[in-house]
Amino acid sequence: NEQLAIPQLRQSSYRHETPPTNPSRRCLHLGYFGGKRLHKISWSAPKPSPLTRSAPMAKLAIFFTLTLSLLPFLSHSFSPDTPTDRRILVLLDDFSLKSSHSIFFTSLKSRGFDLDFKLADDPKLSLQRYGQYLYDGLILFAPSVERFGGALDVAAVLDFVDSGHDLIVAADTTASDLIKSVATECGVDFDEDPSAMVIDHQGYAVSDVDGDHTLIAADELIRSDVILGKTKIEAPVLFKGIAHSLNAANTLALKVLSGSPSAYSANPSAKLSSPPSLTGSAISLVSVVQARNNARIMISGSLDLFSNRYMKSSVQKAGSPSKYEKSGNEQFVTEVSKWLFHERGHLKAGNLRHLKVGETGEPAMYRIKDDLEFYVDIFEWSGNSWEPYVADDVQVQFYMMSPYVLKTLSTDKKGLYHTSFKVPDVYGVFQFKVEYQKLGYTSLSLSKQIPVRPFRHNEYERFIPTAFPYYGASFTTMAGFFIFSVVYLYNK
């Protein structure tokens, strides 16, 4: 009659029956309740049959493992070990973009990327096959596409990002709702007015004809060496396109190139009747989003930003005396794409470990007031190898609802970070937390749970000086009682 009474007892036998990773058969049960039918899907456990795991199965398994282990060598695909992207799908409105933006594409190719150009409405479009993604990155240079071809849609693009892949979205005045909704899902809102463009009557690029000041020489760049590279981008970046703003609820998006205080978003051909919805530095021209899974997204309001024409042209910002032979576009685009495709700013942390001072091996539990040492390895991806990451601002928290200890880690410049501290005089379930979020870098969020127990009954100090009166009292009482008894009994 021990059917169910103690689940723990059943556990061991049950585990052998169903490998939890392989719920192989699914069947439909009709559940009855109170005379009514409920449809329910339940997993049915495969029968425990050791016979099925016979020789052919084993051979097959060996074959598969071999293939799987060889797969990384066969294809240079994105993996946690080599985070730089390899295969990139480029979706275009028409193939003429291939030549008009060739500098950008060539720079990518020269850095070792495989580019796969396709039309955005190609009916055979698909990002994945058999559950495996075929690409590591996606470049959407198809601002006007209304519907993707094939199996691709907004949800598929977002799933692509959510499974850790990178995305470049470029829009322009012809931007379709599809492109805008992709951007919206990434936390960036394009101006809702379809005819609006970014206009800047002070920061425009000087050109031969006095135009409508929609060609902007933007130089409000984000100050981050990680995203934009170590060499400063001197020349302004030419921009002609639509404005977007960061969603206030989104904490992950960054303005890489933002509008100058005098910029605004409006229809350049129409007269301005009402104040523009987007103005000044709220306007973002190019933004990047680093998702929580470290997928990187770049959203640009201008497709022309990437074009050969803008890259080659000279630029002079209105009101500025300095004229540059070449615009900052090429450098900007190249540097951002380096960041975007994980050639830079990609950190890897791991091997979180801790031990009690004077001991080897990780304890399962600490006692309050223990001294402990904490180690973590952090490496940075240099584009082709993992290099030690050197910084003096990595901190570890000893955390239980709030940090009880917050310590800056010191590094040995070989990737090992270390600190030691005393466990606080509080018991509970703590966590070692490394939350490292530095602009442009992969955000590191590691934690390891560790309980802290109070003293055991025999770990307290045995004889404390403050208790000497107590000891004295008890022993004198005992002695006194003894003497009294002797006197009373034998002294009559």
């Binding site: 009474a5 309740f33 109170g34 959510d162 904490t251 929580r292």
Partner: protein
């Protein structure tokens, strides 16, 4: 100097003792004498045959009755095992089981120092220091004993059967206690009554592995030993009662009742002039040793000297010393006037000193004030206004009359009759039982669960009533028959018989009346027996973790959803996953699913519980923040809408709101009510319809047909169609729902990737 004091002491002893004895020994002789005479008579009659002597016969009869009662007490508690299976019941027993398992596996020191990080995440709980280890140690000792005797039992079986075993032992103690306060026949009746009394069975069926199962035995044992000590004035007995008290302290928090009742009893004896050296010895030894022993229990610690609840005992202890001292001074001082002035000065200074000490102790925080639980005992309305967490527990509700009737049946009116008999023959012992009965009856009225404490007293006092009545009636019958049978030949009983006969003649039809009354008593007692058995089998043997219902064709339907859900949790979630549920299910989740819980039935941290209550009663996105803070991986709710199981989370929800609102004023009870009415249908408050608990309980419930002829989404537990059928979850996703929808488990999603 010492010899002088000593002699004075002994003198005083005799003086006081003498008076006490004369008062206490007044009653017994008339009762004891005829019994002896009769047994002598019967002895002579049966000498010729090979029959046993009457005394031996009586002994045999008594032993066999006791043995039968012992067995009966055990087997009547096995209904639950027969109906369901050998399993642990309810909520708290799962914790006790888990700790016992730990104790048997890891040994006593590990148990003593156990820091449990699987409960009260992330605070953890020092289990060894926050429980009463008596029960676990007892079960472990039984287990080790059986193992030593080569009985390969599983610890679960030991745990399941511990409570019935101790109930059996309680019957023995009840017998001796009854014998001590009245006579052995009253003891037998008491043993029989307590063996099947539903008030006791409710907490001691097989599987109900809770502190109370052992504690009632310890309680009664302590009382018995103390009364024995008072009656004999023996150090041995009072030492034994101190150990009984130690066992009680180690087993249950209800020991506070003992440490307050005994001083109260002593005080009453002092006031009524029944002070004696016997009392002095019994109380002082019991108090001092009991206190020192109780301090060894970590959970109790220094409460005996530091907590307001224990101060009465200490006060009475000092009062005893003053009393004794005064006696001695009285003996030394021949002048009466001098003594009176001395008395006045001493009493004033003592009372003043005591008051100052208490005041300073309380003000400095050395003496902790009374706890909420204690207040709520004295003032039944206190918890309702101040401590929702105490008021929310169903077993803390004030008792309804019906449950008195249900739990005591005929004892309810035998109790006053027994009190009458006790008052008629007032001794130190009967005063004790009267006080025990009256105080515990009061507490039983305040809290449902304290019926348990009152049960032994009620059984004992009722036993006195039954035994005395039956004895009187039987005596009446017997003397009559003897008079008619033996006539003048029985000279020995002549005087007694004639006096009876005289009485008889004054009341005609007495014999018939006595027979009728006896039949009536037997009818009542048999009714009691059937009632008790019925109650045990129908009401008190349900494990509450497995639910049973009658199907449409009268067949039994078992809902095993709880264990299904816990097993799912154990198999399908990461081992360090944190499960948030209302605290009722905490113990079961840790014991059965082996997962970390945020709160559990050990309601030591009100804020933590309030946080969970707040999460449950907030909107989903607010709740999500709280759950992220607590690293919650899964949320478990209990829902009875499909099966009509009424003690589900929706019905408990108002308590979550109240407890949550008690700490976080953002949660306001009126937000969840409509005109003071709690509803879940279309007319429900908007906050109610969108709070986390509602969403989790009714997620996709709107698609379900529960009852023929009713619209989809008809909640069978509350009998209404739910108000929000289109529930969308944003931060949580349904992970598992049991076959009857009783337990629903949701997974907390990680934060959105791109936002």
């Amino acid at each position: 100097m010492p010899p002088q004091t000593m002699s004075a002491k002994t003198d005083a002893t005799i003086g006081v003792n003498g008076t006490a004895k004369s008062t206490s020994n007044q009653a017994p002789p008339p009762m004891a004498l005829p019994a002896n005479l009769k047994s002598d008579l019967l002895n002579k009659l049966s000498l010729k045959s090979f029959k046993l002597k009457t005394k031996q016969q009586e002994l045999l009869l008594r032993v066999s009755i006791l043995f039968l009662v012992y067995v009966l007490a055990f087997i009547t508690r096995l209904f639950s095992v027969l109906r369901y299976e050998s399993m642990i019941h309810e909520f708290d027993p799962y914790f006790n089981y888990r700790t016992t398992l730990f104790l048997t596996e890891k040994g006593f020191y590990e148990f003593w120092n156990w820091f449990d990080y699987e409960s009260w995440y992330p605070l953890g709980r020092i289990v060894g220091g926050t429980l009463y280890p008596g029960l676990m140690v007892t079960a472990a000792l039984i287990y080790w004993g059986l193992r030593f005797l080569r009985f390969a039992v599983h610890i679960r079986e030991v745990c399941v059967l511990t409570a019935p075993f101790f109930a059996s032992n309680t019957t023995l103690v009840a017998y001796f206690f009854g014998k001590e306060i009245w006579d052995s026949s009253a003891g037998l009746v008491a043993a029989a009554l307590i063996a099947i009394c539903p008030g006791y069975i409710s907490r001691s069926v097989a599987g109900s592995y809770d502190n109370e199962g052992v504690a009632i035995f310890a309680l009664l044992l302590t009382f018995y030993l103390f009364v024995k000590a008072v009656n004999t004035g023996s150090l041995t007995w009072s030492l034994a009662s101190a150990f009984g008290y130690f066992y009680m302290v180690s087993a249950w928090g209800g020991y506070v009742f003992i440490i307050n009742l005994i001083p109260l009893y002593v005080l009453v004896l002092l006031i009524t002039g029944r002070y004696s050296v016997r009392l002095y010895i019994a109380y002082n030894c019991m108090y001092v040793l009991g206190m020192l022993l109780a301090m060894q229990i970590r959970f109790v610690g220094f409460q005996h000297v530091q907590s307001g609840e224990h101060m009465a005992a200490m006060g009475v202890f000092f009062l005893m010393q003053v009393f004794y001292f005064l006696d001695w001074v009285k003996y030394l001082l021949s002048d009466k006037r001098l003594f009176e002035t001395f008395l006045r000065i001493t009493v004033t200074t003592t009372v003043g000193l005591a008051a100052v000490a208490l005041g300073v102790g309380t003000a400095s925080g050395y003496i902790s004030p009374w706890t909420g639980r204690f207040y709520s005992l004295l003032d039944p309305t206190y918890a309702k206004d101040h401590i929702p967490i105490i008021a929310s527990v169903s077993e803390h509700q004030p008792t309804a009359w019906s449950s008195f009737m249900f739990d005591f049946h005929i004892l309810l009116f035998l109790f006053p009759a027994g009190l009458y008999f006790c008052f008629k023959r007032l001794t130190d012992a009967t005063i004790f039982i009267v006080m025990y009965g009256l105080t515990s009856m009061y507490f039983a009225g305040v809290m449902v669960r304290l019926i348990l404490v009152a049960t032994p007293a009620v059984c004992l006092i009722s036993a006195i009533a039954v035994s005395a009545t039956v004895k009187n009636l039987a005596q009446l019958l017997r003397t009559k028959s003897k008079v008619t049978q033996g006539g003048s030949s029985k000279a020995a009983s002549g005087s007694k018989a004639s006096s009876k006969a005289l009485l008889d003649q004054s009341q005609p039809f007495q014999r018939n009346g006595a027979i009728a009354l006896l039949l009536g008593v037997f009818y009542l007692l048999s009714k009691y027996a059937t009632h008790c058995t019925w109650v045990t089998s129908e009401a008190y043997s349900s494990p509450s973790i497995v639910l049973a219902a009658r199907g449409a064709h009268g067949n039994k339907v078992i809902f095993d959803d709880y264990r299904e859900a816990y097993f799912w949790l154990q198999q399908n979630t990461p081992t360090d996953a944190k499960v948030m549920s209302w605290w009722d299910y905490g113990y079961q989740i840790t014991a059965m699913a082996n997962r970390t819980v945020i709160v559990d039935n050990n309601t030591w941290n009100n804020t933590h519980i309030a946080t969970v209550g707040r999460a449950m009663s907030s909107y989903e996105d607010e709740a999500y923040e709280i759950m992220r803070e607590l690293d919650v991986g899964y949320v478990l709710v209990v829902f009875g809408g499909v099966t009509g199981y009424s003690s589900d989370d929706i019905n408990k929800f108002l308590w979550m709101v109240r407890i949550g609102g008690g700490v976080f004023p953002v949660i306001k009870e009126p937000d969840y009510l409509v005109n003071g009415e709690y509803r879940v249908d279309k007319g429900a408050a908007p906050k109610m319809l969108n709070c986390l608990m509602y969403k989790l309980c009714y997620y996709r419930f709107g698609e379900l047909m529960t009852e023929y002829g009713k619209p989809p989404g008809f909640d069978r537990a509350r009998g209404v169609e739910i108000g929000n059928k289109d529930i969308k979850l944003e931060h949580l996703e349904e992970a598992f729902t049991t076959s009857n929808w009783i337990v629903r488990i949701y997974k907390v999603k990680p934060p959105n990737n791109r936002w």
